[in-house]
Symmetry: C2
Subunit: 135 residues, 2 copies
DNA sequence: TATAAACCTTGAAGCCACTTCAAGGTCAAA
DNA sequence: TTTGACCTTGAAGTGGCTTCAAGGTTTATA
């Protein structure tokens, strides 16, 4: 199959497939006589793993590590399990940070509403609150 | 004052200050006879506003918009208030997405634990779960 | 006085995971 | 025969910086 059909089976763009090849995540495929890339079912499986892992926010480096194990005929399951747990912890931490940020934004908005909105340079202004967040 | 002192007063790096200048957020400063950049208190105020807004995750484009109002002697407070509310909503939405992602990661991890960890290509493997997340 | 240490300058490249653009070549249907 | 959908490559753009390379300047110390 050609690149577009491969890409559609994994729900990614064909430019992304070319990018994965250029970054070494996908091997250079066979070519048809006219120079078009020619893929088979094993390429679909590999790309689906890449797409599934990317949709879980794994980096291409992480994915390369998983694929390298498989390519050496070592089962990557244990590594993948560890990565899932670690990524979940990272996301959890990121959520906490964003919750704090959201609270700061809402607090600033609420406080800002109590100030006049025609102060340009003075301290009597929501902009000044933003400036003085230093630390 | 020179660039490092300016940067320290706003808790940013001096390379970031140069970057802000190159992107038009900060105007080109006066120069000392030896060519070093020379800043004053108004530069500190401007940079603090930039740093405060960046710490709230505003883009440099957003910040440029705020500064453009101020530079035209129009009070940016109303715009800033609107941006605060909108940014808070964006963060809230992002938190929801990350919570869904975290749940998917934890669910996959839990389910993956029930599979053997020595399957390389077959369907009896957490990797296969990752591959089949398509959609 | 030599020299090291701390500061400053510029321009270019690197980061991440792509997308977009430019400038073509290939192939099937109407 | 021409339109349109597909394919190719290489380069540049995205955001907000940091890092690197290769210097010049100034202050403190030995």
């Amino acid at each position: 199959m050609r690149i577009k059909e491969l890409a559609q089976q994994a729900y990614v763009s064909d430019t992304a497939v070319r990018y994965y090849e250029s970054s070494g995540i996908l091997p250079p495929p066979r070519r048809l006589p006219n120079g078009y890339r020619d893929y088979d079912q094993s390429d679909v499986e590999r790309l689906k793993l890449v797409a599934g892992a990317r949709s879980l926010d794994f980096s291409l480096d992480d994915i390369a590590e998983i694929l390298a194990l498989r390519d050496r005929r070592e089962a990557p399951c244990r590594t993948v399990l560890d990565m899932l747990a670690q990524k979940a912890d990272e996301i959890q931490q990121r959520i906490i940070e964003l919750q704090q940020l959201e609270k700061q934004l809402r607090d600033l908005h609420e406080l800002g509403l109590t100030f006049p909105t025609d102060d340009i340079d003075g301290k009597n202004c929501v902009c000044h609150l933003v400036s003085e967040r230093a630390g």
